[in-house]
Amino acid sequence: MTPAKSRTLPLSKRGLSFETLMWFFTRLSALAMYALIIFGLIGALVMGARNQMNFADVMRWAFMPNNTHVQSTNVPDLAPWASSLWKLTASALMLVAVAHGVHGLVVIADDYVASEGGRKIVRLLSIVMMLSMSGIGLYIVWTS
């Protein structure tokens, strides 16, 4: 019996395209967001969330560590929640999430838009949306 042939193709034959890279980016950015969310979760607990917030409040903060997300809780002082550390964390999470999300919209659109021209328009719109939402997001994070 001959051993099963390896099905792993060398990189040059795999057709490494932009879409392949984005497929990989989608997975890696998911892991990056997990790291940032867990960082926010631990930070919230260090800052006293255990006694001042409920589970839903803590998760809302972890998914986007912006100080307006803890305004409605019993946190006595918003200052530590509005520090540069959290603004930087929120900015990183927002930028990764916008890139991941906009690419997700392109993937969904590709299921319904098959023509080459249509797909070009989808990609152009996605770049415009990604840049504008990143800018708006940064503005909100750093001015709130």
């Binding site: 998911a30 589970f55 839903a56 307006t68 969904i108 098959a114 708006i136």
Partner: protein
């Protein structure tokens, strides 16, 4: 290539994709839900004013929180399963089991979040 699927909506709904199909559909609903509503939420916060606080008021309602928490939790937990299985392709043989584990993680986490949101809405 093209969009000639020759499958009607009713037939599509009766497609027996079962567990994996259900997670695919919910992943897409969750992703789209987040993309649409977080975009609107960000625009509302950016523009501010009366319209902005009106929209953000809707977002703070308990019913909307229950919806968006579903999108976020399901998309995050299902996404972690997809990431793990895709980065370690040998695990694809255990996909059915992975989906069961996924529900076992999602249901208690989401359940607690919904309970807390509704309890708070009812006045603690």
């Amino acid at each position: 290539m093209g969009l000639k699927r020759n499958v009607g909506l009713l037939k599509g709904l009766r497609y027996k994709g079962q567990g994996p199909m259900l997670t695919f559909v919910l992943h897409r609903i969750g992703g789209l839900g987040m993309a649409i509503f977080i975009t609107v939420h960000m625009l509302a916060s950016f523009l501010g004013g009366k319209g902005g606080s009106f929209v953000n008021g809707i977002y703070e309602s308990w019913a909307f929180q229950v919806f968006i928490f579903f999108c976020v939790f399901f998309h995050a937990i299902n996404g972690l399963r997809i990431t793990i299985v895709d980065l370690f392709p040998k695990l694809i043989e255990h996909e059915k089991e992975a989906i069961w584990v996924e529900w076992a993680v999602f249901i208690p986490l989401y359940g607690i979040a919904v309970m807390v949101i509704i309890k708070t809405a009812l006045g603690g």
